[in-house]
Symmetry: C2
Subunit: 240 residues, 2 copies
Amino acid sequence: MSDTAPPPGFIPTQRTRVRRHPERAHYDRDTVFAILDAALLCHIGYVIDGRPYVTPTLFWREGERLYWHGSSASRMLRSQAAGIPVCVTVSHIDGLILARSAFRHSMNYRAVMAFGTASIVTDPRHKEAGFNAFIERLYPGRTGLMRDILPQELKATTLISMEIEEASAKIRAGGPLDLEADYGAECWAGMIPIAQRLGAPIPDPIAPPRTAPGPEIGHFAEGAALDQVLLAVARRVSPS
Amino acid sequence: MSDTAPPPGFIPTQRTRVRRHPERAHYDRDTVFAILDAALLCHIGYVIDGRPYVTPTLFWREGERLYWHGSSASRMLRSQAAGIPVCVTVSHIDGLILARSAFRHSMNYRAVMAFGTASIVTDPRHKEAGFNAFIERLYPGRTGLMRDILPQELKATTLISMEIEEASAKIRAGGPLDLEADYGAECWAGMIPIAQRLGAPIPDPIAPPRTAPGPEIGHFAEGAALDQVLLAVARRVSPS
């Protein structure tokens, strides 16, 4: 641990303290980061003219910072060099909860809400490094198989980043929580698991690839759960 | 078609017109509703004190209206009987796109952004019908196997609804779109499919159910894709 290591937990604030089902709340970095690193997609919330917008987009984490490609917030960000407040939400559905009363039906999930100020990465070298880092984060070694990013490509895309200022996680796991009085109900009760699973790779139909899938994508194995693959490769590349 | 049938398409507005990759945009109700009905989870964006919040929650659609259970927006809504502006975003990840240049890596997805004014459903009968409709939407016939919702349960939960005022869908499908100049790259290129798949049901570990899984949950078959199951059952129950 260096002197500059962040504290192990985020401090719950007015914005991040979980009020509904507080027993499901987690504020420690390990839990928050594991939920973020297991995901490919986040939902970015921002405000334009007082109205809310939510854009889904690919993202990745480096330490205390989240990165994503240009979204519709980019237009707004271009005129706001100081950045804009955003809420980045990441969620995984883990199962359907079938209870013995309508009221207690639910789902198992893992979710993080992270708040901060998003701004555009303007330095071209930082930007190029960012895009390559995303490829390497998913497919370690793959950028070495491809040409460099062209200047016009770099120009055509926006890279946005946000330091996580506040965050909380919320997790529901386990089975239904029925009232004992309902145990006699004549219906099945339990959990139906849900996971994002990978299928068999489909080669480019326009231009068939010259090689078979290489080791840099071998961990995206058919049938594997995406969240586990992403978490494992994130820990391998950047064990924070 | 009755005189009151909505037009087949949403009118693109300043808020909903897709600017990045407009060729991926869809504004017709069939496409928008199919993406909504194939999902269990949405991300609700709202504004408190000028700042954005994004909450993931279970939702369902009835005609032009979306419903969801209480979220952290509820506190705010309780003091705003007229409702608050929200953005409801739904997204499906369908695959990873592996291109022959870093810049053209992407993902296949289906997403909807729907805008409207969210308000609390206060009428207890409407509220009770809403909760039961959600169970029936997922598991047709299941409410008949359970006791009625208790008054205190109804009181403990908030039901929120929003009429869709504006909406747009965005879809990316197919394989990578590489530059011809890159076809010679010595790396695999194509698409790795991703789908939310169901696992084998796990009986309640606290109180083992008295019956096997019934026909009302038979469509949640092990290995099936959740989006297809949800879409099929939505069309069976409410073929709109």
